[in-house]
Amino acid sequence: MSFQDLVARAQKWSKEQPWRLYGSQVSILVRNEVRRNLFTRRRIGIYLLAFLPVVMVLSHTIYDRHNINAAQIEEDTQVLAEIVQLYYFRLGIFFACMAIFTWLFRGEMVEKTLHYQFLVPVRREVLVVGKYLAGAIVAILFFETAVLACFYFMYMRFGSAGKSYVFDGPGLGQLGSYLLVTALACIGYGAVFLALSLLFKNPIVPGVVIMGWEAAAPVFPAWAQRLSVTFYLKHLCPVNLPLTGPLAIFTIVAEPVSPLIAVLGLLCLTAAILVLSCFLIHRMEISYTTE
């Protein structure tokens, strides 16, 4: 087959089925980005953010292996809830998403490789979607694995009592909720940081502002709370944290919403931020010297 035939075939395919072309481009972008982001020395910090609590829970499991009464299960359930809701949602996933998603475009700008992405016949919106999905897959893989490992190590030392708590009690439901909330946190924060990286050359300072916003959102009016990721996550957490003092701000629920609305609300917020990113990417120029 001559080159002209190859080109004609590719052009015909993209004209007749543009969505299939976009789909194929997204899958190629995801594949390449995941490979580039998952197993690299640059991600050691994210491995640490994700797996430090796992190491702590494992140490606790080994250290307290003889303390296995029913009351201890309740206590450990509370500890796990604190790890997930205070550490992972507020810090671990937040900073990991900041590192992963801001690097998707800004990092390529720093490495002076973004022009390769801009010189291929790919719509910039497709580029945003492809890179975003890749970042989401990487973040979800890291943190779902970490949460799963925390959960396993937390209950494994209880033997049959632990197994019963998980499979006959509320354990499995809690795990499902944690995994869902972890995935939603990665998706929501990811969209926020992707947009920030397209808005600002150095997204660190705006990132800190977002962190402050997420922490202080519970004291803002109801409409403003809906513009924070944690507003939706809080409604999906399976265990209430009886926090007192300044930390109590993390558990305030000003206006309860159903889990379904919380999931849909976060997905809508994410979609809105991604649409904004698709507009922002068109403003982006290759100017490595000013980075």
Binding site: F3, A10, I28, K112, T113, H115, L119, P121, I286
Partner: protein, 316 residues
């Protein structure tokens, strides 16, 4: 105005980086063939190329490449290949993947992309080292693998920013032959280069730039003719240099006729080359002087560059 589907058109294009001028009020239309962008560092060559390929957007004006704009990326980047001068690559990539995956993004299937990748690697002389990591390549190899990527999808417009930098003489000569072959197929090849001798040898036309402005544009000889402040230099080798010099001096437009040290050559500086050639024909047909060779001595890019910009292009 409907953009021409064969031309590259810049319509009153300006680009400012904040308050810094990139290029200003650029107007030209390029026909297929080899076009060289010539100018000192900071004159706006790379800005012009980045504008042409959509890596940056114009502050004012419009750009059409074969009637397309970068806002139609699928059609546009099927037609355009750009070999930038950024010597950077995605971390961990090897030469083969560097070409193969962008081809997949073009919409080519796995087998088709592999075929085109191998063809591009062959054309750039990189087939033997394609599976090695790009990080281990020499500067010349990195230059050639970027070139291979730019030509892999057979673009109709090939934009090359300093493509001969870092190449050894053999690779340079092969690359030039490749550019000429591409241009012969009716394609556009846009080259920026500081190596003016090579630009001179391969270009169908030049765009001379200085401080963000296009100072001259067109075929090299046409541009030279327009530089009327500097008389053209014509070298004539003949049997009787002194007689020719004397005859030349009688013409008003001849400002200098110098007999060179070999005694058989005359360097004539004239404001009207056409008239001088007519005189030369007369002298030859009259049998007064036998002419061995006639050649313009300063209608090369370097001379034009010096006349227009006032610096040595080779040093730019």
């Amino acid at each position: 105005m409907t953009p021409d589907a064969r031309q590259i058109v810049f319509e009153n294009v300006s680009k400012f980086y904040g308050e810094v001028l990139g290029v200003n009020k650029v107007n030209f239309s390029l026909e297929p063939g080899i076009t060289s962008l010539v100018g000192p560092n900071g004159s706006g060559k790379t800005t012009l190329m980045n504008l042409m390929t959509g890596l940056i957007r114009p502050s004012r004006g419009a750009i059409y490449v074969l009637g397309l704009t970068p806002q139609q990326p699928i059609e546009f980047f099927r037609q355009v290949g750009f070999c930038t001068q950024f010597d950077s690559f995605p971390p961990g990539t090897n030469g083969y993947d560097f070409i193969y995956w962008p081809l997949r993004l073009h919409g080519f299937g796995g087998d088709q992309a592999a075929k085109l990748t191998n063809e591009a690697l062959e054309r750039a002389g990189m087939a033997q080292v394609a599976r090695r990591k790009v990080a281990g390549y020499s500067k010349g190899m990195r230059q050639r693998i970027r070139l291979a990527q730019a030509i892999a999808h057979h673009p109709s417009v090939l934009v090359l920013d300093e493509p001969l930098n870092g190449l050894d003489p053999m690779a340079r000569s092969e690359s030039i032959a490749l550019f000429q072959a591409i241009a012969k197929q009716g394609m556009h090849v846009i080259i920026s280069s500081h190596i003016l001798e090579e630009v001179d040898r391969i270009s169908d036309r030049v765009v001379l730039m200085s401080s963000g402005y296009v100072v001259a544009e067109g075929q090299i000889r046409e541009v030279r003719r327009e530089v009327r402040d500097h008389p053209m230099q014509i070298l004539v080798r003949c049997s009787n240099a002194s007689r020719l010099a004397a005859a030349a001096f009688e013409l008003d437009h001849v400002v200098e006729a110098k007999i060179l040290s070999d005694g058989q050559s005359v360097l004539v500086r004239t404001r009207d080359a056409e008239q001088f050639y007519l005189l030369l024909n007369k002298i030859v047909s009259g049998g007064l002087v036998e002419v061995d060779a006639v050649a313009p001595a300063d209608d090369d890019v370097n001379s034009i560059y010096q006349y227009l910009i006032g610096s040595d292009g080779g040093q730019a």
